[in-house]
């Protein structure tokens, strides 16, 4: 359904290290899964460049709730101040990877 999900295959870590060091593919796949319900229509494909609040039909509160789900999935906290600076799916993935790497 989404191109980003296909990335899982090319760059996957061993399952046991998932929590500490998720791969970019895993993070992208999880973001796509979380955003799936907010696609503008069935034909829409979520990509790295997708602007979350503009290209999808999701309000700011739902964005924050989705971020809480991602936080628990990858065991990181994304401060609200940082959320305000995230626009695209790529930027969200970068933030999660950066925070996960810092643990």
């Amino acid at each position: 359904m989404s191109t980003a999900q296909n990335l899982i295959v090319e760059n996957d870590d061993a399952p046991h290290s998932f929590r500490r060091h998720p791969s970019r593919g895993e993070v992208m796949a999880e973001i796509c899964a979380q955003l799936d319900a907010f696609r503008a229509d069935d034909a829409q494909v979520i990509r790295g460049a997708t602007v979350i609040s503009k290209d999808l039909s999701i309000d700011s509160l739902a964005v924050m709730d989705m971020i809480m789900e991602l936080e628990d999935r990858f065991d990181v906290s994304i401060p609200m101040n940082t959320v305000a600076e995230i626009h695209t799916v790529d930027e969200l993935a970068d933030t999660i990877l950066k925070l996960a790497a810092r643990r």
């Binding site: 309000d59 509160l61 739902a62 709730d65 809480m68 065991d75 906290s77 609200m80």
Partner: protein
């Protein structure tokens, strides 16, 4: 792009709302008759959406105290306490609230909104961490916009979610301030405060509880959830309002911290706004006496909560998770909620309508708030009216015929 263009989406939604023939956000109370009745659209209506939990807006002793204060000291203070000085009554009110909680210090604000906004944004500074419940009131979210601390949101009423977020902070330097509410204003549910306090203790976090909707309603002395949960001493800061149970307007924060008073010269929403007028201070002081002297009002309130909550629940309405002075009735969508609200108003019952984005999880609600002086007859009539509208609008299944 014009200044108002960015509100285009909201304007469209608002236009939809008004197609029902009434604007729930600009309702006019032509005359307020009592804590439970008002004239709206030329008609006497039962009011079940005023947060007037003890019905003290018309308490004769509170009204008289306000009248006496106006005659003695005039209508307003015309300035902030920092610039114009405090009246003796401001100081007396602060001492009485501090004593009510058994805390050493109290600061009074001009509104509850300003109390949360100023205290929360100032307590948590640069390099600190502010942790807030996802369903927090707008005043708490606005404090997050003002603070220089890092803000992290945890899942509503979920101590494990808070625990995970405090754990992730690890050994980063900086204070942790956790903000909770006694009773949440949309669905009337209480925080699992004892469990939250345990988590905060484990990580050495400060606890701030907003008792806006629980003052008077909870605890043997009406102090709120901090009292009923038995954690008064573990709550470092308690914030509340005079605009609900105490029937006026204003906010407060109490604490035992020895340096608490420094907030008087650091909290901007305290320093740069006019202080409460003498009449309000006087009626609030009297209302606090009434709360202490008449615990039966608390019992009456909860009896009324049970009548409305259990009555609506028995008819098949989907409600908030537990009994509370606020009873939130879930409706499937925004337009159904507005239509239902309008039909109730036509039938002479005023409640609040709450729709996204003002509600958690995008729910559409009829928000009812109980008053100790609602009568059982008034509430039974309301249940009957709502059941009728619910069936007519297809929110409830049609009436079952009695067997045989």
């Amino acid at each position: 792009m014009g200044l108002f263009d960015r509100h285009a989406g909201l304007l469209d939604a608002y236009r939809d709302v008004r197609t029902t023939g009434a604007d729930p956000f600009q309702i006019r109370m032509e005359r307020v008759l009592s804590p439970t009745e008002a004239i709206i659209n030329g008609k006497k209506c039962l009011t079940v959406g005023t947060n007037n939990y003890f019905g003290l807006t018309f308490d004769p002793s509170c009204m008289q105290a306000a009248i006496d204060a106006i005659q003695a000291e005039g209508t307003g203070t015309t300035g902030s306490r920092i610039a114009n000085g405090s009246y003796s009554e401001h100081v007396a009110l602060e001492e009485e609230i501090a004593a009510f909680y058994g805390k050493k210090h109290c600061m009074v604000f001009t509104t509850g909104y300003q109390a949360n906004l100023g205290v929360i944004s100032t307590l948590a500074g640069p390099d600190d961490f502010l942790l807030i419940d996802a369903d927090s009131h707008a005043s708490i979210y606005d404090a997050c916009k003002q603070t220089q601390a890092e803000v992290v949101r945890f899942k509503h009423n979920d101590p494990a979610s808070l625990d995970a977020r405090l754990r992730r902070l690890g050994d980063k330097p900086g204070n942790r301030l956790v903000v909770l509410e006694g009773i949440y204003s949309m669905l009337g549910d209480s925080a699992p405060l004892k469990e939250f306090v345990e988590v905060c203790k484990k990580y050495g976090a400060y606890v701030l509880v907003d008792e806006a909707h629980s003052l008077g309603a909870l605890g043997d002395n009406g102090r709120g959830l901090c009292e009923s949960a038995g954690v008064l001493d573990d709550c470092h800061f308690i914030v509340g309002t005079f605009s609900k149970t105490l029937g006026a307007i204003g906010g407060y924060c109490v604490s035992n911290d020895p340096d608490f008073d420094i907030l008087r010269v650091t909290v901007r929403s305290y320093m740069f706004t006019a202080s409460l007028p003498p009449s309000i201070v006087a009626s609030v002081r009297q209302a606090l006496k009434v709360v202490k002297a008449r615990p039966e009002l608390r019992k009456q309130l909860w009896d009324n909560v049970a009548t409305l909550y259990d009555g609506l629940s028995a008819q098949g309405f989907k409600l908030g998770p537990e009994h509370g002075p606020v009873v939130g009735v879930h409706l499937p969508d925004r337009m159904t909620a507005i239509g239902f609200w309008r039909a109730m108003l036509d039938a002479g019952i005023y409640v609040n309508v709450a729709v996204p984005p003002a509600t958690p999880n995008g729910v559409s609600l009829l928000r009812c708030s109980l008053c100790a002086v609602h009568t059982k007859e008034q509430l039974e009539h309301m249940i009957e009216v709502m059941t009728g509208i619910g069936r007519q609008m297809g929110v409830l299944p049609p009436k079952l015929r009695a067997a045989g």
